[in-house]
């Protein structure tokens, strides 16, 4: 099955997975109503900074239903994240076969290979381990 993974950036720019070819990517699905999501998002921010030199890209995909982009942007600022927050359409959730459960995170290595997928909040150590796996997969 071929999927077109294009998302709208909160500032209006279209973003696709293919824009980050050669990078390890974390795709984190979250929502403003999700408390556990907001616990781990600052960790993604920290780890995104820590592994920036190794080419890590963190992307947050908002799953709120019908919320204005300004509100989503304000909420992400309040959580303390500055990585791109994207507004995917319904097709993305279908393409990723998302569960009815947030947060959900994909760790993607070389050529879009998903090296790990998690549902629910994980510890910062586990998140870092998954990030390291994705970075290592890009280097292979």
């Amino acid at each position: 099955m071929l999927l077109t993974l294009r998302w709208s950036h909160i500032k209006g720019k279209k973003v696709s997975l293919s824009d980050f070819k050669g990078h390890a990517i974390v795709v984190n699905f979250w929502a403003t109503y999700c408390g556990p999501c907001k616990v781990e998002m600052p960790w993604f921010q920290d780890l995104g900074t820590k592994y920036h030199e190794k080419g890590l890209v963190i992307l947050g995909l908002d799953q709120d239903d019908g919320m204005a982009t300004e509100e989503v942007a304000a909420a992400s600022r309040r959580v303390g994240v500055s990585y791109p927050i994207l507004m995917p359409d319904d097709k993305v959730a279908k393409d990723y076969q998302l569960s009815d459960y947030l947060p959900e995170t994909y760790y993607i290595g070389e050529n879009g290979r998903v090296v790990d997928q998690t549902i629910g909040t994980h510890s910062k150590d586990e998140i870092e381990a998954d990030i390291q796996k994705a970075i290592a997969a890009v280097g292979q």
Binding site: L5, V39, D65, E126
Partner: protein, 175 residues
Amino acid sequence: MKQSFGLKVQGSGLLVLLLALAGASVSAQEIQLGGTRAAAQKGHVVLVSDAIEVSAGKPQLVELRFRVDQGFHINSHTPKDGLLIPTVLKLDAGRGLKVVSEEYQKGSSFRLSVGSGGGQGETLDVYQGDFRVNVRLAVPKGASTLTGTLHYQACDNIACFPPKTLPVMIAVTGE
């Protein structure tokens, strides 16, 4: 010691997203959530009160009780954060039934804590276990049905579900 909170998703082999032509391919995957998967298909809140008997005519105070599944919480009617989704009961008037007022139970303070590393969430105002909404209701004589919906959004300690709407249907007898 490494501690695990969330759920790992395992595929039959690795899930592959192919970046060909700005697209990607996802292989079939199996989400292994154990008991959580069954829970994920439920609404996490049930209506406990299913019948009430009150004097007909003048408004009477009735208590509607709901129950949140163990291990879950929902926001109270007055969450502290405007982004959080409040629990709201909407009752239908008509057929001689008149809803005069609603009074929600106060929520309790709840702070999410993830792991020994001290991941702390915001302090929430929530309902856990049983909670009630007191409704002042005028009912006609005889049998009728009170209908409506309860809108809420449930989470457990590691994740959240989208907002849900629970249908409310209660047999009312006006004496």
